[in-house]
């Protein structure tokens, strides 16, 4: 027990050791809590909303646009379609120094915009290597969501770029297997079946689930397709020719 002197009133009281220990701690806790709260309030009050970031996508300054893309990828990746073009523009603008963060942002957008990304990739063969790498990398990040879009493109206007898109399917690994099996089982186009077999073969033993479909597709297939299916089966079994 100790004596505590109240300077203003001049009174004196007894303070227990426990109470004494608790007093300054309470005061510290209170002030730090207030400071934290104030900082959070300040940060919250200043933070930009999704709508403000979307508006910033049209800013004349490419750096401001790039920041908006990075922010939207973090806090609202579902708004991918509005930000895709600016993200790809940033990937191509080395002078901003934000190409890598923009490519990462693109990967975050990809699950919400796989179709658009595939369309953009197929549409223009004159893009830079960085642009293409960023789109293909984002499609890999998109996971299974991108596989139907890629197969759709390979069926139609993207056939000329099937090899590049195939790399995405290969990197997606086992996640590509089910849609590719679907192609083997249902698609009437032998060229697409051959393509699916090639991708499955490149995936290798991780595509074991596709073996029945590969074997089934042999029945009644043309000799060229049969050769492709056999080569794929060998690779999937782990015994490449």
């Amino acid at each position: 027990m100790r004596l505590r002197l109240h300077a203003r009133s001049g009174s004196v009281e007894l303070v227990s050791p426990d109470e004494r220990l608790a007093m300054p701690r309470r005061a510290t806790l209170r002030s730090s809590t207030v400071a934290t709260l104030l900082l959070c309030l300040g940060a919250g009050a200043c933070a930009k909303t999704d709508a403000e970031w979307v508006a910033q996508l049209a800013d004349p300054d490419p750096f401001a646009r790039a920041l908006a893309v990075i922010a939207l990828a973090e806090q609202a990746p579902e708004l991918a379609d509005t930000a895709l073009e600016v993200a790809l523009e940033t990937v191509d603008r080395a002078e901003l120094g934000l190409a890598i963060p923009a490519a990462i942002a693109l990967a975050k957008f990809a699950p919400h915009a796989a179709d658009s990304l595939v369309d953009m990739f197929v549409e223009d063969e004159l893009k830079t290597l960085h642009w293409k790498q960023a789109v293909l990398g984002a499609l890999v990040s998109a996971g299974p969501g991108a596989v139907p879009a890629i197969l759709g493109a390979v069926r139609g206007p993207g056939r000329a770029r099937a090899n590049e898109l195939g790399m995405v399917l290969i990197q997606a690994g086992p996640r590509s297997v089910a849609p590719l099996v679907d192609v083997l089982e249902r698609d009437p186009d032998p060229a697409l079946k051959s393509y699916a077999a090639w991708v499955l073969g490149q995936i290798g033993p991780a595509a074991r689930a596709a073996m029945p479909a590969l074997e089934g597709a042999m029945v009644g297939a043309a000799p060229e397709l049969q050769a492709d299916l056999r080569a794929a089966l060998a690779r999937v079994r782990g015994t490449p020719p």
Partner: protein, 511 residues
């Protein structure tokens, strides 16, 4: 007596600066918090360190301002009334130099944060001087005046260099925004990268190594985009053809995908240190008049001209002087006169070997298309729409770049070679383009427009359009001067252009 002279005014000025500095710190804090999501992605937890630093800066600024007001009320006297003002100058110049060295490329956000922190540093020194005096007075005074003099001389040197640049334009004083340089670096070939067996030289250009012009020799440098890289082996390239005909070295500087702002960088950084007699800038009307201007329309132009490293002559000038010295040293160490072997077989394969392995070099009908039919036609139609209808989007920028290049060229003569697009030369392609765009186009408009401006400005110009159109078509009705669905000259086109360029240069070189 001396110490108190000017005291009220210095106090007022310090107070004013403290208020402005506090506002700058507050702005820095606000923009950091506002952008904390992207900054968090870019810098992680360090973003909060910046927030903390800026919060301290605001607090220090307010505290210093309050203390200054109290000092005014008390009529307190400083030993050196202007010392805080000198210190503010030193801190700001220091922040400027830090920005130039470490915080590049310039962006307004980085500037706001750095300025806020710099103001905070100054405010902390103003507060601290009331309580601590870490240095003996003499040393403190010497440091104060010495640093101030140093910073003042740095700023005055830059201002003087800019003044000199305005009065006497020179390649050494050219101030080029960083964006085209970065763009060029990205698209420039890698040294040693092989094209048709020839490794690119040390500067990343499709040519053998460059040497500075020797006294009494002559030298031409050709600058351009992918046309200067081309679709043919080096021995077939138009610069090599021209070189053989003139017996004068024609250095080939090209990078795919670049445009006139990047040509300016190539001129100042790579061509002029070689001391050429003539520089030929190839302007391809297909895309050089309608490129997206990198760095155009950026905000804070005035600020950028001081905060962007490559616009600050203090940084640029030593580098350029070193480059010229380097070229002089290489010249002294290397062979004199025309570089022997230039234009002969590339290192990897002989001309005959190339001719055998690439039969399309002699027979254009054997060429394989580089692009698909659809992409090629779309590209040509887009280019026709961009250049043959109204004023191309970058026309003014091209004129500006060419003017700046001529101003920077010094004693070297700057000539322009206008390269037509394939649709202007091949009638069949033109018909397909017109059918595709479905609107009225003026096929020769870009040449007419640019030639007229170039003539008005007194540029020596080689317009290749009439030269290429004068080539008689082959049996299939096509002139076959461009590689099939590629948009660049083939071997036949390069030969025609090389001959025309040699003819054009012969008179200018006084041969």
């Amino acid at each position: 007596m001396t110490a108190t002279r000017g005291e009220p005014w210095s106090r007022l000025a310090i107070l004013l600066l403290l208020v402005l500095g506090t506002l700058a710190s507050a702005r820095g804090l606000a923009v950091t918090l506002e952008n904390r999501v992207p900054l968090g992605v870019l810098f992680g937890a360090r973003t909060w360190l910046a927030v903390l630093g800026l919060a301290v800066s605001v607090t220090a600024g307010l505290a210093a301002a309050i203390m200054e007001v109290r000092g005014m009320r008390r009529a307190a006297v400083r030993a050196h009334p202007f010392a805080p003002l000198r210190r503010s100058f030193v801190v700001l110049v220091g922040a400027w130099l830090v920005c130039l060295v470490y915080v590049q490329p310039f962006q307004r956000l980085w500037f706001d944060i750095l300025l806020g922190l710099a103001c905070g540093v100054w405010a902390v020194t103003v507060v601290a001087e009331q309580f601590i005096d870490p240095l003996p007075p003499r040393i403190g005074r010497a440091l104060d005046l010495g640093l101030f003099a140093l910073c003042l001389s740095v700023v005055l040197t830059e201002v003087s260099l800019r003044g000199l640049a305005a009065v006497r334009p020179s390649p050494f004083f050219a101030r080029i925004a960083d964006a085209p340089r970065q763009f060029l670096e990205r698209f420039r070939s890698k040294p040693g990268e092989l094209f048709f067996g020839l490794p690119c030289n040390a500067q990343g250009y499709y040519d053998t190594e460059f040497l500075r012009r020797a006294e009494g020799d002559r030298l031409v440098v050709a600058i351009g985009d992918s046309f200067n890289i081309g679709s043919v082996p080096h021995a077939w390239h138009f610069t090599t053809v021209c070189e053989r005909l003139l017996d004068v070295p024609v250095f080939n500087m090209g990078a795919a995908g670049v445009a006139p702002p990047e040509y300016e960088v190539m001129l100042v950084e790579d061509a002029l240190p070689l001391d050429p007699d003539i520089v030929v800038v190839g302007v391809f009307v297909g895309n050089d008049l309608s490129y997206a201007v990198v760095g155009s329309g950026l905000p804070d132009t005035a600020l950028r001209s001081w905060m962007q490293r490559d616009e600050v002559l203090l940084f640029v000038l030593p580098r350029r002087l070193a480059r010229v010295a380097e070229e002089r040293d290489r010249r002294a160490a290397g062979p004199a006169g025309v570089v022997p072997g230039r234009g002969d077989a590339p290192r990897g394969a002989s001309v005959e070997e190339l001719r055998t392995s690439l039969p399309w070099l002699d027979d254009p009908s054997l060429e394989a298309g580089s692009l698909s039919d659809e992409t090629f036609l779309r590209l040509e139609a887009d280019r026709a729409l961009a250049t043959c209808r109204g004023v191309p989007s970058a026309f003014a920028d091209v004129c500006e770049s060419l003017t700046a290049m001529r101003a920077a060229s010094g004693s070297a003569e700057l000539c322009v070679m206008l390269i037509p697009d394939e649709f202007q030369v091949e009638d069949e392609l033109w018909a397909a383009v017109v059918a595709r765009v479905g609107t009225t186009l003026d096929r020769d408009l870009p040449q007419r427009r640019l030639s007229s401006w170039l003539a008005q400005e007194g540029f020596a110009t080689l317009d290749l359009l009439p030269v290429l159109r004068a080539v008689p078509p082959m049996d299939d009705g096509r002139r076959h001067l461009y590689h099939l669905r590629d948009t660049h000259f083939n071997a036949r086109g390069n030969r025609v252009v090389g001959e025309a360029l040699a003819e054009f240069l012969r008179s200018r070189l006084g041969e």
